[in-house]
Symmetry: C2
Subunit: 201 residues, 2 copies
Amino acid sequence: MHPYIGQMDAYLAALRAHTDRLVRLSDEDWNLYASTMRPLRLKKKDFLLQPGEVCQYVSFIGRGLFRSYYLKDGADITQTFFFAGNYATDYESFVSRQPSAVYIEAMEETEVIRCHYDDLQRIYATTKGGERLGRLIAENIFLALSLRNRHFLLDDPETRYLALMQERPKVIERIPLKYIASYLGIQPESLSRIRARLVKA
Amino acid sequence: MHPYIGQMDAYLAALRAHTDRLVRLSDEDWNLYASTMRPLRLKKKDFLLQPGEVCQYVSFIGRGLFRSYYLKDGADITQTFFFAGNYATDYESFVSRQPSAVYIEAMEETEVIRCHYDDLQRIYATTKGGERLGRLIAENIFLALSLRNRHFLLDDPETRYLALMQERPKVIERIPLKYIASYLGIQPESLSRIRARLVKA
DNA sequence: CGCCGAGTTGAACTGAATCAAGAAACGTGG
DNA sequence: CCACGTTTCTTGATTCAGTTCAACTCGGCG
């Protein structure tokens, strides 16, 4: 069907596991959802989305990872990171149908299976389980963002870095320092100094 | 029925208008939702929620306003403001069923009609329209928070203040400076200076 | 009328940004 | 597979925006 991605079935299985954690879909609803999924492979530095486009897909990552970022005065500022086993999307643009403000870029060769906005709306409209899934996904994305927001309000940069180590260790392990810095809202030099301080202490 | 709040019907009408903006509920679904609503009146400085409690309600504000805030080292830090015609809740706690980290405090005499978590889950489980409403509300709360987050990532304090004037002028008009300052993540003195700068320019 | 909280203003301080230079790691092509 | 060039990271010196601390004004309220 889509021979250029051999792992399609494995990715669908991973998506099913991810979905089951939120809501137990009927086989019928699941099959409808799964049938909308199309594979896509991106090479390193390819864009899943660019500013100005309306985000048309939710993409479940089978392999690889993405970084989303704003471009401001030539400098790029990381919005977030997306890892395998989760969805990558500009949910803001996807939901609001407004042009996106971010790039979503593959940081290495990355494979996704994705569902188009129109397909998803059809699932929402025709199935109760799909509608529920959509609500639970929205709630979960909200929770993640709330936590991030709390850190910006309450914590200084060093504390935000420590919290990130706790909450998203994969970011620390796999992402270059300069991108982590902009995710934390600071300059690379500052994060380097924070790390140096922490080693000594 | 609830004689101590005479405006119950007016508040329900406002809630219906608010709801209609998101989704057109059937009369049946609407009546079910409306029937769960219970009125509550709070005096100035009363708490709708306190840290440690799990938020059990979504409260639609008929009159008045709330401020939610964290308490950190004795200083209170504003999370957000809730105005009449919108829901007030700690959605994070409400959704996750975890103890809240915030106070939600009435800034003046405030009246709400509210729906209990269990009632809402029952509506989600039994009606398609309710589930859809829940999804759309979650999406909208997410959008608002996204915007806030973007400002923290991209903008300096003065720019955040200007954006707040644009996006939520009611906050500027009705809220004391010191609370706006902590909402923006700065000290009251700094916001006072920002205002002084803007007047000159 | 006096008090108290809110806001303003000034001076000193501080932590992060900026600017700059060098070291280390990376990947790319020969 | 190595060598080169580029990017990433570190470290130091300086600058700067926002914080802190303090004093004073203003306006409302008891």
